[in-house]
Amino acid sequence: MEQPAVMNKKRVQTGSTTRAFAKPHVIEEWVGKVYTALCILVLVITIGAIVYFVSSRGLATFFVDGVSLGGLLGGLKWEPEGDIPLYGALPFIFGSFSTSVLAALMAAPLGMCAAVFMTQIMPGFGKKVLQPVIELLAGIPSVVFGFVGLSVVVPVLRAIFPGQGIGIAAGSIVLSLMILPTITTIATDALAALPRGLKEGSFALGATRWQTIYRIVLPTTLPSLLTGVVLGMSRAFGEALAVQMVIGNSPHIPHSLFESASTLTSAITLDMGNTVMGSTHNNALWSLALILLSMTFVFVFVVRFLERRNKR
């Protein structure tokens, strides 16, 4: 009776090895853990690489080419092709900040009204009509916004105001439409998450709906509302093509809102393809990208700060 003995032996062997490390579900568990951890690792490495490469390029302007930090951040003249090349990025920084702040100022009231409408005034109609509208607006690609800006906003501004119609005003109008969905969605979520008791208490005291909204609802949700506005601004700050198409792209600080200007993103978009990798001009563009990157971090931390305020 050799056969059973062999089988028995085998079974014992496999049994002991599986008990040690080859139980199918243990392997399964490891596959899962390793696979998901690798995916996360890719994500973390990617962001590390982005920060490293953009900073190494952006800082080369200062360390290799000897442009001073103050000269770049505070200089008023951007003349990389001049006899004495000048790399003053202040006009771009000014353009970026003014367009995104103006866009946020225009979009914030609209977005908050929309959110109040959807949650407090006509929830049924708001859910059925306004919410899909906002979602559609969020889906429209930025180049299409740029195209519409170029063929509608710019001519209208040209007809009403002096100048060519291009400039910061056109840029911020286009941007405000683009960030409206961001602000509205976050505000709506915040207002919908408000405990019912607060509102009902206010109504029970005899307050009108508007009193309830601006005395109770808005102050309670203020940090979340601001989060939406900051996220919208951050999106406006980083938006490239839509702004580039309507802002005019001249590297000066404009004297009015209707004069050609430039932003960080538009300068990078236009010049990056025309410069040689490694030249000072090219490195200066990378410095602009580095400014964009650092502003992203600033925005993220402001949002985090606001969220922490909100949790308390």
Binding site: L43, V116, V133, S151, W210, G238, T265, L292
Partner: protein, 295 residues
């Protein structure tokens, strides 16, 4: 002022603003479609663009956009699902998880142009993929990944606790629980989110300017060998997408009918994105019905 009057004025203002927003969107869509649809024809959708003559089409660009989207999704979905599962199921609360969460958040708010520059420096030059569909797909992956992670994480969090615990109590491993119990339940949400994200990718241009390139080589649509440089299927050829094309003809278009082409191409782009949106809702609902046996 009387509190009731104030209430009425405020209500009227808010309703006014809400209708203004609806009007703006209606005007926007109306303008794009009205200007563009008259220019869309079978010929426009299939013929090659002309640089200085009138009558160019957007055939290669449309194909490039769809192909690039496909490549991006092939790379993004496995990575995004894995990372999302990690964040929702394996990550233990603590400092490490918090910092990973911060990383995802930062990555999702990077300006797309910066992602494009990173692609130019690392994927195009350092890895030597050149201006190609593949570089573009990798750049779009960077851009799309955080969104995908968030979608997966949120939909897994939405799975009822009891179902997960029942599966674990039956002795299934965690991975088996995730793949066989939780993912099927979460699939409708994940699919909806993915299609919406795909719509965003489809319209993205800034990240592609410096990765997929701004030119399209002459394509031979009868050549289906993916290694040949004239084949539309070759992932290592430069490719101008529809969104990039719209930007290019608006800023440096020489063709006499550049404005019409831009309008037509914008309309195609918007219609496609709308299709994505509607199909996402419909498909999500359909999957939900199939998977949960609700009517």
């Amino acid at each position: 002022m009387n509190a009731k009057t104030a209430d009425r004025i405020a209500t009227a203002t808010i309703i006014g603003v809400a209708s203004l927003i609806v009007l703006i969107l209606a005007g926007l869509l109306g303008f794009i479609l009205f200007r563009g649809v008259s220019h869309i024809s079978f010929d426009f959708l299939t013929s090659v663009p002309q640089t200085i003559k009138a009558g160019g089409g957007i055939g290669p660009q449309l194909f490039n956009s769809l192909f690039l989207l496909l490549l991006t999704l092939i790379i993004t979905i496995p990575l995004g699902l894995g990372a999302g599962i990690y964040m929702s199921e394996y990550a233990k609360p603590g400092r490490l998880t918090d910092s990973i969460r911060l990383v995802v958040e930062v990555l999702s708010s990077f300006p797309s142009i910066v992602v494009g520059l990173f692609g130019l420096l690392v994927i195009v030059n350092l890895f030597g993929f050149g201006f190609s569909l593949f570089s573009g797909a990798l750049a779009l992956t960077v851009f799309n990944l955080p969104l995908m992670v968030r979608i997966t994480e949120q939909s897994l969090k939405g799975v009822p606790r009891e179902q997960k615990e029942a599966s674990l109590a039956l002795g299934l491993s965690r991975w088996k629980t995730i793949t066989s119990v939780m993912l099927p339940i979460a699939t409708p949400t994940i699919v909806t989110g993915t299609i919406l994200a795909a719509g965003r990718v489809f319209g993205e241009a800034a990240a592609l300017l410096f990765t997929a390139g701004m030119s399209s080589p002459r394509l031979d649509f009868s050549n289906w060998n993916p290694l040949s440089p004239t084949s539309p299927l070759n992932p290592f050829r430069p490719a101008e997408t529809l969104a990039v094309h719209i930007w290019k003809i608006n800023s440096e278009g020489l063709a006499p009918d550049a404005a019409e082409i831009a309008a037509g191409a914008s309309a195609v782009l918007v219609i496609t994105v709308l299709l994505f949106n509607f199909s996402a809702r419909w498909f999500g609902r359909y999957l939900h019905r199939r998977f949960t046996a609700t009517k």
